[in-house]
Amino acid sequence: MPATTKTNFQLVSNGILNDNPIFRLALSMCPAVGISTTVMNGIMLGIAVLFVQVFSSCTIALIKDYIHPRIRIPTYTLTIATWVTVIDLVLAAYMPAAYKEMGIFVKLIVAFAIITMRLEVFACKNSVPSSFWDGIGMGLGFMAGMVVIGFVRELLGMGTILGHDVLGFRPLLFFVLPAAGFFCVGIMMAMFNYMELVYNRKKRAKER
């Protein structure tokens, strides 16, 4: 089994930047469009995903030697579903307001491709600590993506950030409308592509 040679810091930054689940891998887009109307929603769902990702990664890394290869996928699914149920129950009990806001999406973490993918690609081949840091990186990367989209939509749509009035007026109601999530994500992706393009061009110019 090829264990990773990266340091913990590299593992975390990899999840946030190079392999950002939302902008780079384009996985788990549903919440990024559906409930990214406020920064708070992004943080809450980000915490839920972080929790599920870290605990599932650790669980799989811990029992990887005992999993029969033929029932690998069902085991992953069962592990994720268990941790999603746990976080769902906890959120419903202790943070009812935020839970109501996120609606069905907490339960839908179970179908997020990003978590299964990390288990398959990383956790089943690496030790518990590096799986832990990888999970943290992926969770934070997801949260960062959600917060960035939420920030733009909340600021432009309602003129507030984290519920505090910043602008004092509402610039574009359009951004709060559910459909605007698609535009936001699409335009941001294009912006990231553009930055990459410019960066690469400069790099090439330097090399010459």
Binding site: I71, P74, A81, T82, V86, A92, A93, G157, P178
Partner: protein, 304 residues
């Protein structure tokens, strides 16, 4: 063969561990969830009556809940009210049955404590003792009576009606003359930015202070919300008024008897809330008058 056994054992163990984990978390969180829900509703109710953290409710404020059931005995339908009675005389609750024309039919003592009465299953089992089959009873709604000292302060009506997309869940506070004290939206799934604006102060507070006579005929107008009125509606209680006191009074009297100003782009949601509130108050006023007359004629020692 050996492999299959290994797989089965592995899966069974995993399932067992997972089930154990989920079960224990459920047991731990279930109580907290129920408690938090109760606290939330309580806070919403007190908030509607104007009691907040900075301005706590007086110690002699009591909230009593009345539960209404529809009782079917073959083709005959009657209403059953579960009323809290004064402690001392066995305490607890009594069931008062009233026919559809408002005439008293029967009354029963119920064996249920005030602590358990908020559980639907506990109420059902207490009612089953006095309403034997073939009588069927169906829960219909509940009303909370707020009593301050010896006089009724307000009625709190939880209600649910269809909105633009799904259901809108509200809590309405009205005083004994059926004037609206406040409206709180408990749950809704309208479009964010459009229908979901019913949750904003400048919409909810429009209902505040509308009299029963006005509310019976209230309508929704599509005129734009005047700027000064919006400012007035958005000032929160407890905070300092950004508007001078005299201005507040003139604005209040100016818009007191106006219709509800619809939200821009969400006329149907506004209409739904207005009609829902109108119907809730009309039905409630009709029923509570009948119930009160039965209570006074039968000398039922009600707590509220």
């Amino acid at each position: 063969m050996k492999e299959i056994i290994r797989i089965t054992i592995g899966l069974t163990v995993t399932c067992l561990v997972a089930a154990l984990l989920m079960g224990s978390v459920f047991i731990v969180t279930d109580k907290a969830k129920k408690h938090n829900e109760h606290v939330n509703v309580q806070r919403a109710m007190l908030g509607l009556l104007g009691y907040t953290k900075g301005h706590p409710a007086p110690s002699d404020l009591r909230l009593y809940t009345i539960y209404r059931y529809i009782i079917e005995d073959g083709a005959i339908r009657t209403l059953g009210y579960m009323l809290p009675v004064v402690r001392g005389e066995q305490g607890g609750y009594q069931l008062v049955v009233i026919d559809l024309d408002g005439q008293f039919v029967n009354r029963f003592k119920l064996n249920i404590t005030p602590e358990k009465v908020s559980e639907a299953s506990e109420r059902a089992s207490a009612l089953k003792v006095v309403l034997k089959p073939p009588k069927i009873f169906v829960y219909s709604d509940s009303t909370i009576v707020a009593k301050l000292g010896k006089k009724r302060l307000a009625y709190l009506l939880p209600g649910k009606f269809p909105g633009f997309k799904t259901f809108i869940d509200v809590m309405l506070a009205i005083d004994p003359s059926f004037k609206i004290i406040g409206l709180e939206i408990m749950e809704q799934e309208e479009d964010p930015g459009l229908g979901a604006e019913i949750n904003q102060d400048y919409f909810k507070n429009q209902f505040k202070g509308k009299s029963f006579e006005k509310i019976k005929k209230i309508n929704v107008t599509k005129e734009p919300l005047p700027e000064e009125y919006k400012k007035y509606l958005e000032t929160k209680k407890g905070k300092e008024f950004p508007l001078p006191k005299g201005v507040v009074d003139t604005i209040r009297s100016k818009y007191q008897d106006k219709d509800i100003y619809a939200l821009t782009g969400a006329t149907i949601s506004s209409q739904a809330v207005t009609n829902g509130v109108k119907n809730m108050i009309r039905k409630f006023a009709y029923r509570i008058n009948r119930l009160d007359s039965v209570i006074s004629r039968q000398h039922i020692p009600v707590a509220f």
